[in-house]
């Protein structure tokens, strides 16, 4: 029957060409669109899982959706809603002991204004415990200087951010530079300094991830202190509560200025600094982060001690989520966020785009199906007499159906092949011609600034299935109508 079907496909040339072109267009859009978005999602997953979130994240339960970048977007005001994990040491120990879990590392999340020479910008800051962090996220590549060391106060920036700022300002950012971080809310703010110890690179460069600053956890905790004064987060602050109510806590701007004396040294050092730099310096000394009962108040310019975070917003985990892991986390007052939830809007947006694209594509496929059904309807009715002749010479109905379904499945497959060929050509063209996407959002959701189209094998296989099914399905209804007709009537059709 296959040879009969193939022969019909070849000899009903116009019908075949029309249908095949329709299916080729559908296949091209399906494969190209899905490959692009699947690539973007894979890229995002690779980026996040190996360098930012781990396989999953444990967070404190929250009424609002949270991510490592804050409640919604990484801006200072919104970070106040991030609750702290109340039983961090126990969670760390117990999760670390589970066989499904390979590594656990705490993360303090925040946002701060970062002062670089000639440029001030708001960046997401991740307070990390270096030993665990870099072991859990091996995708981070240190390209200059070194990684933060356990107990060290310091900051690491992405190479791309530094190079961009250097290019924009014409001023060098050097390893060892003391950089200022300022966290503010309303009229309250807090300033910390940390030395730039290294530059790092993510395997995939994206605008939002390029701005991430890795800072020792103690510094971020200290910067976040200001946020703990909000009533809604005070209750969640857990271990920080004592620090908030203790005598060493600075509550507002007046407190910050309480012990300020502008020294000659400070003035002298101000030469060449921006107004903001000077202002930041005269605001010191400000308190150091506390690991318990350590008094705050050491100089912002002084190197920090080596505090291990006693508080963290998140635990980044490498391992599998199993019911046992979920139970343990829930028992200890945490909740599990997938890497995508932890990644925040970017990853969710990419997923939504994929869903939206496929949603749109379902509608497009419906249109293609209708168009195909119409073409097939006409051609099948035109072949009423041929079908009746087949039946007259003894073809049973299942055989007639098989011939027609096979015929159209072959046309669908031919269209798919054409569409695949078109996609491959497009992919090769994009590989050879560098097309850059300027829009930041678009770049993020397509997995980078350079437009690429790696053809995804799974998508190709799925497309073949969908297109052949539509093609074969399109003939089912008209064929049913035609074979219902009595042979004696059908055989006289012109």
């Amino acid at each position: 029957m296959l040879s009969l079907a193939l022969r019909n496909v070849v000899r009903h040339g116009r019908h075949t060409a029309l249908l095949a072109a329709l299916f080729a267009l559908a296949s091209l859009l399906f494969i190209a669109g899905n490959s692009l978005l699947t690539h973007a999602n894979r890229t995002l997953r690779t980026l996040f899982v190996h360098t930012i979130t781990g396989d999953f994240v444990v967070a404190a339960p929250s009424d609002v959706p949270t991510s490592l970048f804050g409640a919604t977007t990484p801006s200072i005001g919104e970070l106040i809603t991030l609750p702290l994990l109340s039983r961090l040491p126990l969670l760390t120990a117990e999760l670390g002991a589970l066989p499904e879990v390979e590594r656990v590392t705490p993360l303090v999340s925040g946002a701060a204004v970062l002062d670089l020479p000639g440029r001030r910008l708001t960046v997401p800051i991740f307070g990390i415990e270096p030993a665990g962090y870099f072991a859990a996220l091996p995708g981070i590549e240190v390209v200059a200087g070194r990684a933060l060391q356990p107990g060290e106060s310091g900051i690491m920036l992405t190479e791309r951010l530094v190079r961009r700022i250097e290019a924009e300002t014409g001023r060098a950012v050097n390893l060892g530079d003391e950089l200022l971080l300022t966290a503010a809310q309303g009229q309250r703010f807090r300033i910390r300094s940390a030395a730039l110890v290294g530059l790092f690179r993510y395997p995939v460069s994206m605008d939002f991830s390029d701005e991430i600053a890795l800072v020792d956890a103690a510094t971020v905790l200290a910067l976040n202190e200001i946020q703990r004064f909000t009533p809604e987060t005070n209750a969640d602050a857990g271990g920080a509560a004592g620090a908030l109510s203790g005598p060493t806590t600075i509550a507002d701007v007046d407190d910050l200025f309480a012990d300020v004396g502008i020294s000659d040294d400070a003035v002298g050092e101000a030469n060449g600094l921006t107004v903001d730099d000077v202002l930041a310096r005269v605001m010191g000394p400000v308190p150091r982060p506390t690991s318990g009962d350590e008094p705050v108040g050491t100089s912002v310019l002084a190197p920090a001690d080596a505090p291990i975070p006693v508080d963290a917003h998140f635990l980044l985990v490498r391992g599998r989520v199993t019911p046992a892991v979920r139970d343990r986390v829930a028992t200890l007052g945490g909740e599990i966020l997938s890497w995508r939830q932890a990644a925040g809007q970017t990853a969710l947006l990419a997923l939504l785009l994929l869903i939206a694209f496929n949603g749109g594509f379902v509608i497009f496929l419906l249109a293609v199906s209708l168009a195909a059904a119409n073409i097939v309807l006409i051609s099948t009715y035109r072949r009423t007499r041929e079908i009746a002749t087949l039946r007259a010479v003894g073809a049973e109905l299942p055989l007639v159906r098989r011939i027609f379904v096979l015929e159209h499945a072959v046309i669908g497959a031919a269209g798919w092949l054409l569409g695949l060929g078109g996609t491959v050509v497009l992919s090769l063209l994009l590989a050879h011609r560098e097309i850059l996407v300027g829009n930041r959002l678009v770049a993020t959701v397509i997995g980078g600034h350079r437009l690429r189209l790696p053809v995804d094998a799974g998508t190709v296989a799925l497309c073949l299935l969908v297109v052949t099914a539509i093609a074969a399905g399109a003939v089912a209804v008209p064929l049913r109508q035609v074979i219902r007709k009595p042979i004696v009537e059908a055989i006289r059709e012109r």
């Binding site: 022969r7 000899r11 041929e386 009746a388 002749t389 010479v393 003894g394 049973e396 055989i491």
Partner: protein, 234 residues
């Protein structure tokens, strides 16, 4: 009841039709196409069913050929009652015991002469061995061996009907039913088609039953059944 027996003494009946009724609805009008037709056609004969237009010739051929079902009555093909077969069984009988020749040839336009003749064999999924030779020998017998690769559109009406005859014979059926096989042909071509039937009847022993309203064609038959207004005329 109108009964007719085509004359062929000594031969067993290959078709027995008993009290067959068939009624059609044509819009608002009800047409009694067959009204209690009974006839017997002996094996190995050439039988003409004759009558004016609308007398029920085609309807009778259709019910004998299982392309249509009678409202009542029985039809026996080679002693088997076939009037109430389900569609699958009817298709099997058509495929194995019957051959059809249509007034409009009904060749499949995208297939070559060879492929059209071969079609019933493909449909019946018969063995491939010897198939090509058999099809070519039939095409040779109808004088179209040189035209085996031509499509129907490249053949004349007479040539198309020859292909249709070859197709009707390819499964070696006991009975070939031909509905006005010469109606669309000129008289000379029609005559050659009937001669071809005679030849196959002689050589293969196939029973040919054809309908016609042409007296000249009627003369070519060995036995005649006359129909008038759905009944067998005396």
């Amino acid at each position: 009841m109108n009964t007719s027996t085509a004359d062929s003494p000594g031969l067993p009946p290959v078709v027995t039709v008993s009290s067959v009724h068939k009624r059609y609805r044509l819009g608002e009008r009800v047409v009694d196409a067959l009204r209690g037709v009974s006839l017997t056609i002996p094996a190995g004969t050439i039988c003409a069913i004759v009558g004016p237009s609308g007398s029920g010739k085609s309807t009778l051929l259709n019910v004998i050929g299982l392309l249509d079902t009678p409202d009542s009555g029985t039809i026996r093909l080679e002693e088997r009652d076939v009037a109430s077969l389900n569609p699958t069984e009817a298709a099997r009988v058509r495929r194995t015991r019957l051959g059809f020749i249509f007034q409009d040839f009904n060749l499949i336009p995208v297939l070559s002469a060879f492929e059209n003749v071969e079609l019933p064999l493909r449909v019946g999924q018969s063995a491939k061995a010897g198939r090509r030779e058999w099809v070519m020998s039939l095409l040779d017998a109808v004088g179209l061996a040189d035209h085996w690769s031509h499509r129907p559109g490249q053949l004349s009406g007479g040539q198309q009907q020859r292909v249709a005859i070859a197709r009707a014979l390819v499964n070696r059926p006991g009975i070939v039913l031909a509905d006005e096989p010469t109606a669309n042909l000129d008289s000379a071509t029609g005559h050659s088609i009937l001669e071809l039937m005679h030849r196959f009847n002689r050589e293969l022993g196939t029973t040919f039953v054809f309908s016609t309203h042409d007296p000249a064609v009627e003369e070519m038959a060995r036995s005649v059944v006359r129909l008038h207004d759905g009944v067998v005329a005396a």
